[in-house]
């Protein structure tokens, strides 16, 4: 064994000074022969005999050298290196071919690597700083009767943590606040986290410490915070004595106990956190009140980290058993509730879930682009292999095996795709942060949506590189290897061999390109239509003349009574502004990330399934809410300003809720129990959208904000005035009431909704981009084939002209050939698109995957593009000089 290693090392080393060793061997053999000649001369031979005898005794010098060399180096590597060198030389010799092939492949491979790096960085491995993030699972609450994932309550969380031995549970609830440092105030995102957060994730603060177990308990007892590295560097100028200093968050000074390491942004895909506080401080950040002892208040998002050696199934089994016990022990809050442990890429509560379908579709599209690029390169190589016919024939004739020939051809292809893969990596690197551009940062909240270029992405890139080499190299290689020696040698150089079969193959490749390009065009058309639909669609409330903004009285330290007074006074003043029709506060703005409240309800006459616990989402709104947002009431009457804390509780339900719980009967005047409190239903509101355009109609109800007060509220203003004027006036009015307050950005509801449809816009933009690419590639391919066909058929075309064919006849001849190819491609494309566009169904809004308009536009675009591609070669056809064409 040791011997073999020694030999291998010797041989490997020899690879690197071949030339020197060759010289050495020559010198040695020469000296041997000279000594032999000398000896022979001394024995009395003639000079000539002496030389002949020496050579005879030596044996074939060249043969010996060859044996010697093959034993000295590593022949497999040497021939591969030779092929590689030869490949590079060939590429240099035809730079036009090489550049276009490499460019095509760079686009194809780059698109794939970039998309995969997004998937890696956002879905599979979103938290590079976390130790063993592959063991992290997302916690998703389940409730009977709904597919939606729910959050967890703190008492449940604590019970799970105590009872489960195979996992560590980690809480992580995103929330925002105003971070005022010096005279600079800005919105910041932070997380409320369980005390084990940093320890369980394997994150060691660079300064100070993480939280201790006792900091998780005691209502508001532990005002301590860990800040992010970025905050430390940018906002505290990297102050080395930062630990122990205080920072005011939501009006309360917090002691900074730690600084998180660089590269750790928290565990909420999409946002970069700037600080963390322990669970005990929940009430200070949650306008919904104290929830740490309320099993019915589900607000916690989080993760489970598997202990080493535990599988997801085992952990799931364990936690399900605990959930069952809890459901039995606390039927009022936990009946029919369970927990699912999901892999990170299925995380239900952050940007991952929003982007999952989009990224999947994007990867599929990227692979189509790669296929088209490969078809193009394949075509280019076919043309070139024709030019190299003679070289191949000679190689075969002098005894090169077909296997060797194939190996050489693939090596050449590999050189191309390796250059392209390098370019592709550069493309992917440049596109790392592209996705973040689609998510306008709300008020300076730092976004964190980046691609990750780790070894898996590199391996993926290498794989793509190999696969595409096989794809585009296969057909030209087979064509070349099919060369019939005897036939080929009989022909003059430069004449066409196997031309017919080859042009058929090339036509097939064009068909493939056109059809795939067509599929992408249809997909882009569908998404553009869908985004347009969303832009013009009505979500069930007015969007154009409604302005919205946020006003955080909670962070400003108001108590409920002050806040109510403030809201009243502000409403009064704003209503008096010119152009303002109405103003309404509400706790939650539709189409936002902030969740609605959820309540378990009870309805007289509705029989719930045995372990169903009816729960419905609701919003807390001002009396003017329905008027301001333009949501019609189909029966009953609106909330009144008299519906205050002192008045009987009332609610407005939507149509779906009436369908489901009152079986379509008008519920006005009936009662509804919400979280144990009875309310009277006073009206039915028309259905609207609450989260996204893609949701199915769901039960929903409204309660007066005054009877369910929240300090953190959003403002809706119905006005005909421009947003800027209202924004300025509003800021003025707020300032007049409280000099330390400022509203958040004032935008129309339309703008707000558009910002929430990023995933669709990403898909639309990427697909449009890809289909544009595909179109260009297909057109270039078609153009190439047509020009080649014209040059190949010069003789025939010249003959036709000599026999009296007119210019327009020839034009028609060539054009019809090109259009026939296009038509075939489009037919295939239609068939493929009908099958494939169903995949887009997830993200399409109000557009059928078989939308005729999208198909028609794709058809028109493809036809125009191919007309353009065929025209130039066709125009050239009648300009062939018949005399020269026939003579050549």
């Amino acid at each position: 064994m040791r011997d073999l290693c020694l030999v291998f090392i010797h041989r490997l080393v020899a690879l690197f000074h071949r030339r020197h060793l060759d010289d050495d061997l020559d010198a040695e053999l020469r000296s041997h022969l000279e000594m032999a000649v000398e000896l022979n001369l001394r024995r009395g031979m003639t000079a000539e005999d002496a030389r002949r005898e020496a050579l005879r005794r030596f044996g074939g010098v060249d043969r010996i050298k060859e044996i010697y060399r093959s034993q000295r180096g590593l022949p497999v590597i040497e021939t591969t290196l030779r092929d590689l060198r030869f490949g590079c030389r060939l590429l240099r010799r035809s730079p036009g071919f090489s550049l276009s092939a490499i460019l095509c492949l760079t686009l194809g491979i780059g698109a794939n690597i970039a998309v995969f790096s997004w998937i890696e960085g956002i879905l599979f491995r979103p938290f590079p700083a976390v130790v063993h993030q592959e063991r992290l699972l997302a916690l998703s609450g389940t409730a009977r009767g709904t597919q939606d994932s729910t959050d967890l309550s703190w008492p449940d969380f604590v019970d799970f943590q105590r009872a489960c031995t195979q996992i560590d549970l980690i809480e992580d609830k995103i929330m925002g606040t105003t971070l005022s440092i010096g005279d600079r105030a800005e919105r910041a995102s932070g997380s409320i986290v369980s005390p084990n957060y940093f320890a369980a994730l394997g994150i060691h603060p660079v300064l100070g410490r993480g939280f201790t177990a006792d900091e998780g308990t005691g209502r508001n007892a532990h005002p301590v915070t860990v800040i992010s590295y970025w905050t430390w560097q940018e906002r505290f100028n990297g102050d080395p004595g930062i630990i122990g200093k205080t920072q005011v968050l939501n009006g309360l000074p917090y002691t900074i106990i730690g600084v998180a390491p660089q590269g750790f942004y928290g565990t909420f895909v999409g946002y970069a956190m700037q600080f963390w506080v322990p669970t005990s401080m929940q009430e200070r950040f949650d306008a919904g009140g104290y929830k740490l002892e309320d099993r019915g208040a589900r607000w916690i998002e989080g993760f489970a980290k598997l202990k080493p050696g535990v599988t997801r199934e085992q952990a799931q089994e364990e936690i399900s058993a605990v959930a069952k016990r809890l459901a039995a022990a606390y039927p009022a809050t936990n009946r029919g509730r369970g927990i699912r442990l999901l892999p990170l890429w299925q995380t239900p509560f952050n940007k991952a879930s929003e982007l999952l379908p989009t990224l999947g579709i994007t990867l599929a599209m990227a692979s189509l682009v790669l296929l088209i690029a490969c078809a193009n390169v394949s075509n280019l190589m076919l043309v070139r292999s024709l030019a190299r016919q003679r070289e191949m024939t000679i190689r075969l004739a002098v005894g090169c095996g077909r296997g060797q020939l194939l190996k050489q051809l693939f090596t050449e292809g590999l050189v191309l795709s390796m250059f392209a893969a390098a370019g592709g990596l550069a493309v992917a690197y440049g596109c790392r942060n592209v996705l973040a551009m689609f998510f306008p940062a709300p008020n300076g909240v730092a976004l964190n949506l980046r691609g990750e270029l780790d070894w898996r992405v590199l391996a993926f890139g290498a794989g793509v590189c190999l696969v595409s080499t096989l794809l585009f190299g296969l057909i030209p290689a087979l064509q070349t290897a099919k060369v019939d020696l005897a036939a080929a040698l009989k022909f003059e150089s430069g004449s066409v061999v196997g031309g017919r079969g080859r042009s058929r193959v090339r036509s097939l490749l064009i068909l493939l390109q056109v059809s795939l390009g067509f599929v992408l065009l249809v997909g882009a058309g569908l998404l553009i239509r869908s985004v347009q639909e969303m832009r013009t669609a009505s979500p069930g409330f007015a969007t154009e003349d409604v302005l919205t903004t946020g006003l955080d009285l909670f962070s400003a330290g108001y108590d409920a009574q002050h806040a109510k007074n403030f809201q009243d006074e502000l409403s009064e003043r704003v209503r008096a502004l010119p152009g303002v029709k109405s103003i309404a506060f509400a706790r939650v703005r539709p189409f936002s990330y902030l969740p609605y409240s959820t309540a378990s309800i009870l309805v007289d006459g509705y029989q719930a399934a045995p372990d169903e616990q009816p729960a419905v989402e609701y919003n807390e709104v001002d009396p003017a809410y329905f008027a301001t947002l333009g949501i019609p009431l189909v029966s009953g009457h609106d909330f009144a300003t008299t519906d205050t804390e002192a008045a009987p509780l009332v609610a407005v339900v939507n149509e779906t809720m009436v369908e489901k719980y009152w079986h379509g009967e008008d519920p006005v005047g009936k009662r509804l129990q919400v979280n144990g409190r009875w309310m009277q239903v006073i009206a039915v509101a028309r259905n609207s959208m609450y989260w996204t355009f893609l949701e199915t109609p769901k039960p929903f109800f409204y309660v007066p904000l005054r009877q369910n007060f929240s300090l953190r509220a959003v403002l809706h203003i119905r006005t005909s005035a421009a947003p800027e004027t209202i924004a300025a006036a509003l800021a003025g009015e707020i300032h007049a009431l409280d000099g330390s307050l400022a509203p958040q950005e004032v935008i129309t509801m339309r703008e707000h909704i558009e910002r929430s449809t990023s995933a669709q816009r990403i898909a639309m933009t990427v697909l449009s981009l890809f289909s544009g690419l595909a179109l260009v590639l297909a057109v270039v391919g078609l153009y190439g084939v047509m020009s080649y066909m014209v040059s190949q058929r010069r003789r025939e075309l010249g003959l036709r002209m000599a026999l009296g064919a007119s210019a327009s006849d020839l034009l028609r001849l060539v054009m019809s050939h090109g259009l026939a190819l296009t038509a075939g491609g489009v037919v295939l494309g239609v068939a493929a698109a009908l099958g494939l566009t169903r995949l887009l169904g997830y993200i399409l809004y109000k557009v059928s995957p078989r939308d005729p308009l999208a198909f028609a536009s794709a058809f028109v675009v493809m036809t125009i593009a191919s007309l353009a591609a065929c025209f130039l070669p066709a125009w050239r056809a009648p300009r062939i000089d018949p005399v020269r064409a026939l003579r050549d």
Partner: protein
């Protein structure tokens, strides 16, 4: 009729080279070829060239070492010498050769 010349038995060339180097000390390729032919009284026909791949093989295994030097006739030549590992290898190969030939001799005598 001259005595027929024997081809070098497959695999024994290595042994012959090692043995030659052992008894002669550092010597060049031509010297090795001559020595083998002399000792075998010209009975052993050697394609002298085949010596060189053999030398390379031995060197790659670390049994011999080579160095450029100057011959007695003032000619540049590559000198080969036995390494410590080579000496050990030679002992082993001689032993196994002797065992082998003794066995074959016994076989030939008994039959």
């Amino acid at each position: 009729m001259p005595p027929s010349r024997a081809e070098v038995l497959q695999g024994t060339l290595d042994l012959l080279v090692l043995k030659t180097l052992d008894s002669m000390g550092p010597v060049h390729g031509f010297g090795i070829a001559q020595r083998i032919e002399q000792v075998s009284e010209e009975l052993l026909q050697l394609n002298q060239g085949t010596l060189y791949p053999a030398l390379l093989r031995l060197e790659q295994r670390g049994w011999i070492a080579s160095k450029w030097g100057v011959s007695e006739n003032n000619r540049k030549a590559k000198y080969y010498s036995l390494t410590r590992a080579g000496r050990k290898q030679l002992r082993e190969e001689v032993e196994s050769w002797e065992r082998m030939s003794a066995m074959i001799n016994r076989l030939l005598k008994t039959s």
